[in-house]
Point group: D2
């Protein structure tokens, strides 16, 4: 493997690359979990979680992955037999809906246009017909990790309002928090979910939820049995262990603390700007490659392309062979296509701890693999990315 040995480039859309500082912060012996530094440090995390979601709402941390948090928020907001409207735009809102359904919630899926994002007008239209307000919640992802789409959360809020509908507005920000602008309070979101392992640059194993007062009030009406996921004491604990309903995830908390410190040292807006520039660069490269061949962005509308993950259709080029080439011969791991996109797409993750040399190295390696494979493509993708990003150097 003459060109592979060196640093591994993990260019999947999460778990994403973690800063060395975060790993170092996690490399920490077991500690007192009843008193002392851990307790103080952990309480300091809560306000920063609120800052990252731009909200004054309650923030809760769960030990678990993204699927765990999906369940956690459903359990705290919806009873069995209640109905939720899932706004499909790829794979993950649907997955959330499946969890809700398994927990007894009635699910209706509203599909986005093919290769596009959620259409707010369709949401408004559907909600207008729900005159009895049987729909208790609207579920959507800000960015779909599979399709690479970005949904306009503010616009969907306006659509819900236009329909005068009281449903809880619940947004999954797993692939978007710490990557692109998100304004929970300004956009009127009731429940936000996220995880540690993407934009928040922390190993997988922590999930987060933020809940508006409206969501909080809804919890009080539930008849569903709740124990581990019950979020009341997690948000307002009397004793420390209630924050996590049991033993705290000590090492992860130190890692998260470090990651949050790095995000705020850079500035949240600067983080967003960085992702925007890099996303633009990636799309410029893909567009160039596609000028002379089958490669193309999965999402048709440039304005609906995500700045944290890009899904690329490969047409006549064998997507898995391309991924295998970069993986084994260049030490660059690209994301595989998911679901119906498997085999016909690959994905580039550009979320969290990602900068110009990382993305240029990844794009260069993809182009090198295309060249090596003799695949049909137009050279110059990296140059196009450079041209697209040069005014963002600051």
């Amino acid at each position: 493997m003459p060109l592979a040995n060196g640093r591994h480039f993990l260019s999947i859309p999460g778990p994403s690359v973690m800063p060395d500082e975060v790993l170092r912060a996690m490399h920490r012996p077991a500690t007192n979990i009843y008193e002392g530094a851990l307790i103080e440090m952990t309480h300091g995390i809560v306000p920063d979680l609120k800052r990252v979601a731009r909200t004054e709402s309650r923030a809760m941390t769960f030990i678990g992955n993204g699927h765990a948090v999906w369940e956690a928020v459903i359990v705290n907001t919806l009873d069995a037999g209640e109905k939720a409207l899932v706004l499909e735009s790829g794979r993950f809102a649907v997955g959330w809906g499946e969890v809700a359904k398994a927990l007894g919630v009635e699910i209706e899926v509203l599909n986005a246009p093919d290769r596009g994002g959620v259409d707010p007008q369709m949401v408004e239209d559907r909600l207008r017909t729900d005159t009895k307000h049987e729909i208790k919640a609207v579920l959507v992802v800000q960015i779909d990790t599979a399709s690479g789409v970005w949904n306009d959360i503010a616009a969907i809020r306006r659509a819900i309002d236009a329909a005068g509908h009281p449903a809880l507005y619940m947004v999954d920000c797993m692939a978007s928090i710490g990557c692109v602008p998100y304004e929970m309070d300004a956009w009127g979101v009731d429940v936000t979910t996220a995880g540690s392992q993407k934009g928040l640059m922390t190993p997988p194993g922590l999930g987060f939820a933020w809940a508006s007062q409206k969501a909080w009030d809804k919890t009080k009406t539930l008849t569903r049995g709740r124990a581990h996921w019950a979020w009341e004491l997690r948000a307002e604990p009397e004793v420390f262990y209630q924050l996590f309903h049991g033993t705290a995830p000590v090492q992860h908390l130190y890692a998260l603390r470090q990651a949050l410190d790095m995000i705020f040292a850079e500035g949240l807006e600067a983080v967003w700007a960085r992702h925007a520039a890099i996303g633009r660069g990636v799309r410029a490269a893909v567009s160039r490659w596609g000028e002379n061949g089958p490669l193309e962005l999965n999402i048709l509308d440039p304005d609906a392309c995500s700045d944290s993950v890009t899904t690329i259709r490969t047409g006549a080029i064998d997507a898995q062979a391309l991924r295998a080439c970069t993986e084994t011969k260049l030490n660059v791991t690209l994301g595989t296509g998911l679901g119906e996109l498997q085999g016909i797409t690959f994905r580039i993750g550009h979320m969290g701890h990602v900068n110009a040399p990382m993305i240029l190295g990844t794009l260069g390696s993809i182009e090198l693999a295309l060249a090596h494979m003799g695949a049909p493509y137009a050279p110059g993708g990296v140059e196009a990315a450079i041209a697209a990003m040069k005014d963002d150097v600051a």
Copy 2:
């Protein structure tokens, strides 16, 4: 703090001291979660989890703490409205029962004799009266982390059998697995639960469950909604992510792999023997100290004392002042008393990665603190521990 600066001695009953090798194994960058080394390594963990519980049953790993696993096994075995018998012997079986109750299970608590372990005869007697077999599960802990009691799991099985009762037998091994003998299959246990952070020497954040065929069959009868906790695909996944119902806890898995390697390199029986000797040493020290003062073991029957955690009543000595002295002046963290034992006891954890110098250093520091405080005690605790352990040196 003239005598404090140096290594921290964490002598709490979990999260316990982790081997440096485990922390080093966890210090690892993000990796491909779809293919490659992680997948192979993770599949290798499952058989080792079975070895550690001495079972051929299915083993499942959950991201979460002990409370999470409590919920997970309840959700997979008991419907709302079904009844469980909780065998109280401290605090934690009761806590498990509270989780079950919050999930709709009807709970009956059978109390152990004061300062003692579960009495199998009482279990048999109670079950004999349940002629309609309304009790669907019996819940007990092998070791109670609060009281320091050890329950005779095999004897309780015999009691259940003597009563001819078909209830599922569910045992929490959080504070005992990897510490004291446990034979899930030989003792006829249906569900075992445990966590990563005590005898298994891995940071908190992973929980484990093992389920007998009888428990597996019970799952099929449930009407309860199950999503994240559903253990069928976790035990028999079609694709990797189903093992964890979502993103795998990458760093924790590498840590666990290292810890299991260390346990089996030592030999599980050798691990048990080590804990037995150290437990005996701790009790010898406490008994010596108590010859001339108020210190005494919380558990009255020496045969019911746990070999992984020791709870000590302090009588006229201020338990919290003693703990504060060792913590701030000697850098030794002792466990606080829990629940009704708070303020009148302290606890010494001796589980997992613990050897002669660690426990002698801890006991010596307690004795040093007692001497410094002018507390009423008989010197010679460390000598008594040495005498009690010297034939175990091998």
Copy 3:
């Protein structure tokens, strides 16, 4: 710094990027230095050091940097008043000569042609005139870290032989070992020196020397006082500490062990091939950039360009401003020009743990900085590198 935050790209010619595995191996508590695992592991390093220099000669490890090893080998081979011929081709052979001179050795410098490597014919010519064999040693570097030149060590050996001269042939491989082909025995080298922090991918702090029997015999003739550097017991210790004349560098040895394991797992020839391809890629990029502007390779003869470090003249472009741009705005650290090349060149290190995505990320970032600065250059450097390397993907 919208495009900077993410992994740091260290593209200087040493200390070079270390594998995460090497750092992890070094993260290790203090250990017994008299018995046990350390001793066995350390003895295993010696044969691998011989393999890496392709020699059956004795190998010695010194705690120190490259300058320390320069002194160590001078002290062991040359008395004050003896004469050495320094073959200048940049900065480092001259530096070695300065160390020798400070230790009393008489130095004569033979300059290479401007912007070129050592001319073997000039060496032969000079040695032929030394009919009294006053020159006791010939000093040269295989690769000069400042100029970026690669010298033909085998050809210089032939020149020495052609002159029939008995001088010791001493070669500094600091910037070349573990990067490009080196055959100490086949090429008749008497003394080789190297350090840990470049091709050997280990933190700075270890130096290495290899000595032929001829050099060994020369040592016996010396009158110079020698203590710490004396290499006899270091090569053939009676007790362990003599390997290092004092306490062993425990953590570094574990790091080095890991690095050597990685080199031999890849295969030394594969390592060389990787560097050759990447060096070719870098030069292709620089040549492209220079088509429309002042950028050019410092070394004029392409065959004399090093495959581990490339020095680039920037002409009208401010080299320090370019470096500052990549450093502060893109998180890519480029090497500064040294000595007379300071301010008019920059350097790209591509040694050790370096692969396609790393170098493409670095080249892309340089090109991005050039674009951002509005500097005169021809775009397409990365594409040229890709074209130059695509047949090396294997």
Copy 4:
């Protein structure tokens, strides 16, 4: 090994136990060595090195072990043919003298009384006879790591002054710096040497020297060739790399920075008090054990016993068997006897990162091994240590 598995207790007199924080600080990727954070951090180390030796003198850092620094200071202060008086009190001043001798210095050894420290009166007497002032330097160790003796550096200074002798006063503080009081300026020491791996709690690989103006002036008179060790530019560098005469030891410097931070956070006097109390505890334990058997302190005068290392004669007890027992069966590594003390002594290191539980664990393990072996000793060593230290708890 029922009682061994758990944390390793390294109780040798260096390399000593390092704080986890120090290892974590060292776990750091390669960095820019020309500009930026490393440079600033390194310059900050120098004043702290002066603080730790209580001096306004110049401080120099060398990459190397203790033997390296011995050579470094000889090379900078004494010419071949000059004479030095070595004050023997164990093994290490003699070792220093051997290095000096190999570098051409004439050595005269003045032996301390058997099992005792340097007698200042003998020093004064000898120097009075050197009426021609042929002795250019007096070499002594503050603490001898082999014999366990502590020498009274201030008293020896008074002896030199009483003799009116102008020799440089050179003190090796390898085993004492950061452990026991040392006042370079107040005590009129001209050259102090030390290393990183004992009281300074940093991995082996760095050595330090401090030089008075008088020593500095002596350097100017030398005819000896000096290159790598020359300390002028190391103390007063024009460019960064001169601090280390070549590449800086990046990872070690970060480790040292962390260790110094910890020392000054505790307070240097508090560090000394901690060592004093622990040394007293160790000697109390040994004295108790010896009441009924052959164990005894190697140093006869209690006031001359070191507070960082204790050497224990074992008489009829096989010292190596005792060490093997603690090593293999209890995971406690004791120091072996050195030189003529090998086989008849063992050593306990208690230097640097050492506190009450660590030393009590070590002492308890020694006593456990003695009990297990059936060796002749009086039990109660740990109790005696506790009694000796209890008033130091603060």
